[in-house]
Symmetry: C2
Subunit: 248 residues, 2 copies
Amino acid sequence: MQDELETGLARILHLSPAPRLSVAGRTDAGVHAVGQVAHADLPVTDPTALARRLNGLLPADVRIHAVTVAPVGFDARFSALSRCYHYQLSDAAYGVDPLRRHDTVASSRRLDVAAMATAAAALVGDHDFAAYCRHREGATTVRRLLRLDVARDGGQGSCAGSRISVLAEADAFCHSMVRALVGALLAVGEGRRPLDWPATVLADGRRDPGVRVAHAHGLTLEAVRYPPDAELASRAVRTRHLRTAESP
Amino acid sequence: MQDELETGLARILHLSPAPRLSVAGRTDAGVHAVGQVAHADLPVTDPTALARRLNGLLPADVRIHAVTVAPVGFDARFSALSRCYHYQLSDAAYGVDPLRRHDTVASSRRLDVAAMATAAAALVGDHDFAAYCRHREGATTVRRLLRLDVARDGGQGSCAGSRISVLAEADAFCHSMVRALVGALLAVGEGRRPLDWPATVLADGRRDPGVRVAHAHGLTLEAVRYPPDAELASRAVRTRHLRTAESP
């Protein structure tokens, strides 16, 4: 996605080499994004026309919602207050509703969503998420998990009640952290582990082989939140200080 | 879909020729269905196992929610009280959210949803929908349109407010009727026709070249409703009397 966008920008704006985008939320291969945010320094006079031309050029699976001139001090990655991800599961006996199979993962067992929600609530807060992060020398794994909600959709018609959503919001996530958290919650939901197991793993501070990182295609970056314009620059300075260049 | 299902049933149940399914709601090429219902007379002892085996055999874009023994007098098509269809549009400047592009149609103009809702309300009721049906000799085009709701989704994040749904429920629809109704409403929503135009076309009773039948892939059969078991047989007799074999 980032590559295609950078190539498109280079082509439309006649730039060589292609501009480099700074992106708010990393999405691994297979992960979707509906609310991604990126910035770059570009010679643009008509942002609306640029969005239109990009959408004419990009493949149908990438759409530009808007191009705007960023407020002073804005950094797509470092100014962000939080990222919100959505993980979608289906535990219907028939698998996944075909229309949602591209962003929903099938669970072969019926899930105890109440147990998952209780286990999830115990993970919210300021913690060292080393047990749910890929270790990288010199990078902090301390994160503020603002929200980890598990709910079963009311749904409509005969699909009612087989869609399960995990909504995760944090100041930032380390690599594959949401998928590792969902993997731990799935172990609880399937009855393979007790309610307090995800929190025990967290407290142990080490990756646990019992945590199976959930499939990428169930995950969607929903939104990135920013502070009011006046605080964008100071937020960016503070975050940049906290994190090394590779851990968004 | 029907073909694949009939072939799958023949294979699992060792039937030759393949059984013929009676299907509740016709879906033209490109139209989706999440709540389709069908019946057939089959030698089945374990319906749950049959559903599981069918799902193992069918492609990922067809899922069997359940197989059950039908109550006495049940006819998937003729016992139905109503069909509910959902037409999905996006009038975002960027087109359609990539994750929904398979079941959502882009409108290149911003739509006046309030005008569409008002125009739609005037079509509800018992009418001869000849203007919105493909004419067939000897087939009635009288239908009871129970519901034609147009609404803009609240949505989430940056997608908020660009998704528009048309929910249509009728005792039965003629061929391409929902798509013709949506086409008429789109003419109002885009400001090309006045509010009362869809009702005027209805009253004229003739197909109007101004009605552009909307694209198939925005349409989904959501649900089929049936009466209580005791009324299934009488309902089937009454409907069969009203309709000829080819107009579900």
